[in-house]
Amino acid sequence: MATCKYDWPEAAERHLIGKPISRIDGPAKSSGRAKYTYDINRPGMLFGKVLRCPHAHAKVTSIDISEAKNLPGVKAVRVIQGEGKEILWGGDEIACVAAVSEEVAEDAIRRIKVQYEELPFLVNEEDLERAQSQGHTRAPSVQTKGDPDKAFADPDVVISEGYYGAPVITHCCLETHGQVTEYDGSDHLRVWISTQGVSTIPQQFAEVLGLPATHVEAICDYIGGGFGSKFQIDRWGVECARLSKDAGGKAVKLMLERDAELKVAGTRPSAFAKVKVAAKKDGTLVAWQSEAWGTGGVAGAGVPPLPYVLEGIPNQSKKYTAVSTNTGGARAWRAPNHPQAAVLTLCALDDLAAKLEMDPIEFLTKNTGLAPEHLGETYNDELAKVAELSEWKKYWHPRGRGGSGRIRRGLGVSIHTWGGRGHNSNCDVLIQPDGSVEVRLGSQDLGTGTRTVIAIVAAETLGLPVEAIKVTLGDSRYPYSGASGGSTTVGGVSASTRRGSVDARDQLFAAVAPALGVPPDQLEAAAGHIRVKGNPAKSLSWKQACARLGTKTIQATGKNPGPCELGSSGVGGAQVADVSVDTETGRIKVNRMIAAQDCGLIIDMKTAESQVYGAMIMGISYALFEERVMDDQTGIMLNPNMEFYKLATIGDIPEFIVHMMTGPQYDRRGVIGLGEPPVISPGAAISNAVANAIGVRVPTLPLTPDKVLAALEKA
């Protein structure tokens, strides 16, 4: 096999890659030293607040900011959407202020007088007919493949029909959105911002503020969660900068309150569908029909990829209708559209398997050939793995045969897929004459372990311990690195770091080769030494070697994409949920979740596994608890707080078994992203487990006790 100089080291030569390594930012985070955007305090800093529209749909007929302006301590007041503006969702920005303290800013907000003309609105979309009759639907998209009518009419097929859905949920990052903006002179802007894309921020501000992008610096050392909701600078970010300018350049901190966060800072679109699906008696899938709809706010929603994973079903008829509602807009939510697609597809398939009286794992395994190219085999391996680890044969029973007692137990399964190809990334790798090493790039660590992965790759390449590498990220002045979305970061930064580190190492080899009396290509970096291959006695310690640089610092730039294939795209994943359902109270307890997940070559086993654990818990959260509740009467969100927007707590977590797929066939694929795929399956797996336990389908998430009882009653 031809090798390429940047290739990942072979398994036998890896000292760090793939091992469970503790994250390098652990001490900073556990000691309170890590500074989040919320924690930035600048000299003389002002506090910004936003006045938000209390109506779902309204026209601003008048606005008076004079009283706010005259309040002592208020330094700037701005109208964002003034007289004549039509406001399309509750919580949208109307005006903002900057004042010497949060309290004064709040007082000022209260003194702004706005009059609205209220307009008709729609905030709930599950009733599609109502949405249609009120003109809130877009023209549906319709697709057909093969001959679905004929396939469904075949007397030899078994058909299952059902209704499934997942409501709008929010991101609810623990650190809300926000920023601190500060002008240096009239044309230099510094922004500390809670963002998933440090390198992309200057351009965004420059465009709206009319500054050269070179005059904007964005900083984000630590971020308290993003999950897809923190890519844009947002209107409140722009207004925050304008407040700074109006206040003579002073720093202004504007972080969203929790209620604003839940109303306007990001949701996952809903998806509901009537699904009809057919298979031959032996379980071979032949036809799919879906009529789906959902909302992502005024702009409608992204179309979930249906049928999910098993996209090769030969006969298909699909219709999708986007519903426009007067609600805060959707944003990418960890694996956009996939968790919904998994619920709509894998629950329908599970109902069909039950009708066929087939074990759903056998049923899926029979049909994995309908998955995209290389994934069929991966799914077979993963399904076999979760069957083994969950002791499926022992605990699974045909649907509804979970006994007649009050508590019924059931098992459910789901599969998923995701892309995850590494994004564009550049980094500088510096080796100083004193031996210290730094990797610098304009990336960000969302908590997934990006810093740690970079340190591992550099350390592995340079033959150093992880602690020897300083990783500097979170500032747009460093080399451009892509935004963290779509699970593209680990692939991007590990490849750029690998290429930069190999080049930096080669420069060091060239500098020390004469001293070791061999050509540079005879050298290797290992165990803290630069040594002659096959003759480890002939070596220099890392420090001695670097001292040979004299006063010259090595600086090598690594890029992705670049030479040699260091990553690819397209992962699978399978999960099993084991639940107990109390048939008297309707309460569901998840007993166990079992996952088998591939992601190509794993850099850090610890952070990788942690992504899977975290994703499954987040999955339990949206499967059982999370839902944005909108009031039909007033058009406002009824649960814009953490008390009634329920998240899973530590008491809700079950036993977990996480199995990462490893071995040459996975290593060969290079590094692929992982943050998103494992969050896709839990909704479907848990819903299927509940159906298995109680014998009937609870059609929509979240699987709350009232819905469980209603389903039981109907049965």
Partner: protein, 154 residues
């Protein structure tokens, strides 16, 4: 109003507005930003600190209510840079991802271990139910507390 509080071992006196929340006092007046704000409505636990040895969500108290009290924040747990076993446990066992909930989780765990030095996983879950983690590192948080409990008793 004037208040006098002992924060992480040192007394300080400040003039504060009566409506100032303790969490804002700690973060904005005392400059201790390790105490985070997640909800301001006493649900998430990100703002947990110890007041006279009791874990308290510092967004539920006014600063003036803490007059005369002894307060321990996350910064006070490792005064000379030597990590407390809980801080080490959260690192070792990967009990943190974005880390925003971590200071609150650690201080809630601190009280838990003081009351019950050898908690079962079940007891750890019960004790931390008032603290939310959106990155949902719960599995590892239980392990982190167990890790610390083992160190602290040996």
């Amino acid at each position: 109003m004037k208040i006098k509080v002992k924060v992480n071992g040192a007394w300080r006196e400040d003039e504060v507005e009566p409506r100032l929340l303790l969490v804002h006092y700690l973060r904005d007046v005392a400059g201790l930003t390790g105490t985070h704000i997640g909800c301001e409505t006493s649900i998430c636990g990100a703002c947990t600190v110890l007041v006279n040895g009791e874990a308290v969500k510092s967004c539920t108290l006014f600063a003036v209510q803490a007059d005369g009290a002894e307060i321990l924040t996350i910064e006070g747990l490792a005064p000379d840079g030597q990590l407390h076993p809980l801080q080490q446990g959260f690192w070792e066992e990967h009990g943190l991802q974005c880390g925003f909930c971590t200071p609150g989780m650690i201080l809630a765990s601190y009280q838990l271990l003081k009351r019950n030095p050898h908690p079962s996983p079940e007891e750890i879950r019960q004790g931390l139910e008032g603290n939310l983690c959106r990155c949902t590192g719960y599995q590892h948080i239980v392990k982190a507390v167990e890790w610390a409990a083992a160190r602290m008793s040996s």
